[in-house]
Symmetry: C2
Subunit: 292 residues, 2 copies
């Protein structure tokens, strides 16, 4: 297992972590400069942040600084109530692949979607098996395009508390079953993003990380699970402040061959998004060396 205690060369910042510092939307250009100033070598930006700044601007900035992208957030949201909706999702996902290629991302992260309409409180149906089938079909179709563009797709199993509205792939085992079905050769074109927040509770976590193996372990996301957790979405903790044994999970990842960045992704309306960008990043650096 790599020694993270003396530097932060394997730290990546998911830019959602500082997207609302002091409660104010932060331009991605500002976030990038703040990362670069601190010797952070990798980021994982969100599509809306890139769009707001302009893809050419961000592409140029990333290249000028020699920044790497540990991932690009995000594609997915495949299920829809009708064929037109699913086609629109597919078209949008192809654009996400294009953007990820332009930014030379390590992978496009997929938050696969769930019951159509649930995210706005109006689920169109209750058939989660149907949504899972549409997710499977959506990934299959996108995989062809992504493969031809050499952009790996990383399915991110989301915590079961998001099964209704954000992602109906909720365990690593389930994600890997999809990988087995769609990419039986373990080509590396399809894999998983392992976020400790989503999977730490899983009694089969170690077993499934080992099952995934190097070719399918495309990303590793860290934050912490707080007790109590006061909000289902935006109360993630800083590494070391919660109950997740992050080094143990990282050990399993690296034991299976993962050698990429440890990407910090924290959504935190009440705590971290109340701080300054610099303070948040400095804390990420410190905790990367002490708690990851």
């Amino acid at each position: 297992m790599r020694d993270f205690s003396t530097d932060h060369r394997w730290l990546s910042i998911n830019t959602a972590t500082v997207r609302k510092s002091r409660g104010v939307d932060q331009p991605l250009t500002t976030i990038i400069e703040a990362c670069v100033q601190r010797g952070i070598r990798a980021i994982s930006p969100w599509r809306d942040q890139v769009a707001a700044a302009g893809l050419p601007v961000i592409s140029k900035l990333v290249k000028a600084h020699g920044l790497e992208l540990s991932g690009y957030c995000r594609g997915g949201m495949f299920p829809a109530v009708d064929a037109a909706g699913r086609q629109a999702a597919h078209d949008d996902n192809r654009r996400a692949v294009d953007e990820a290629c332009e930014l030379n991302a390590a992978c496009l992260v997929l938050v696969v979607g769930a019951l159509p309409g649930a995210l706005t409180g109006k689920a169109a149906h209750k058939d989660i098996a149907l949504s899972r089938s549409q997710v499977n079909d959506g990934i299959a179709a996108l995989l062809e395009y992504a493969r031809s563009n050499n952009m790996p797709l990383a399915i991110e199993p989301l915590h079961p508390m998001y099964a209704a509205d954000r992602a109906c792939i909720n365990t690593l085992e389930q994600a890997l079953d999809v990988c087995d079905a769609l990419d039986p050769s373990h080509s590396g074109a399809l894999g998983v993003a392992v976020d400790v927040y989503h999977v730490w509770w899983d009694p089969k976590l170690q077993q499934q990380i080992e099952r995934a193996g190097k070719n399918r372990l495309l990303a590793f996301h860290v934050c912490d699970w707080m007790t109590p957790t006061t909000d289902l979405l935006n109360d993630r903790g800083m590494m070391g402040d919660g109950v997740i044994d992050i080094p143990k999970v990282r050990g399993w990842m690296e034991g299976s061959g993962f050698a990429g960045y440890s990407e910090v992704e924290i959504f935190s309306t009440g705590t971290w998004w109340q701080r300054e960008t610099g303070e948040i990043l400095d804390t990420c650096i410190a905790r990367h060396t002490s708690a990851v």
Copy 2:
């Protein structure tokens, strides 16, 4: 699959559902009378409610009305920081078995516990595997006592969002693995309580219900998952108001031989606990016939 549409003979009320009607703690005696008035034939009371009224009082009342107990809530909370703490939990769980016997409950429901201290925000450690081992040992010890008293133990897998503070058994598969280890003969002394709120998201739900089989399907709890869910504990929905396909799950249960009560268990600070006891119960009866 039984027809629930014309009466509520298979409805049970978990008394937590009306424990705080209008925001005020309701005496269990009052709750029982309100159930009996409505022809509800079964309840599942909580230990603190029974203790507040007095076990002899409740025992007499239950017998006088010919009420059945679809379960007794709850034993468990096995992990502790030291042997003395685990012995205290064991002793308390034996008392829970005794009470369940006195009330002639169908089973004692086990919420098994997780990281010691996490429920009060101060987890003593992060080793969930250790807690799981202590849970296994705790159930094994209690099972001897429960078996000698003919009181079945029902392990309730809790939603993974409670893995840190309430229960480190989080899937039906995991619960059944414990059953296999401790009661390989499927004697009926050890089984599971299937609560749709906790397990509806699980892609292996149907498969694991079938694996459990009649002898291990000891209880069936219903409520609904709301979108959005605004609180991790106390924002459960009334059946039919959320996204869970409850009849589908009940069909799987009954297809595997379950023929017991459908027990309504709703914790809802903001919505249902603001209503009168009678209104809540009448709604449970109506939804039992239309949405379960």
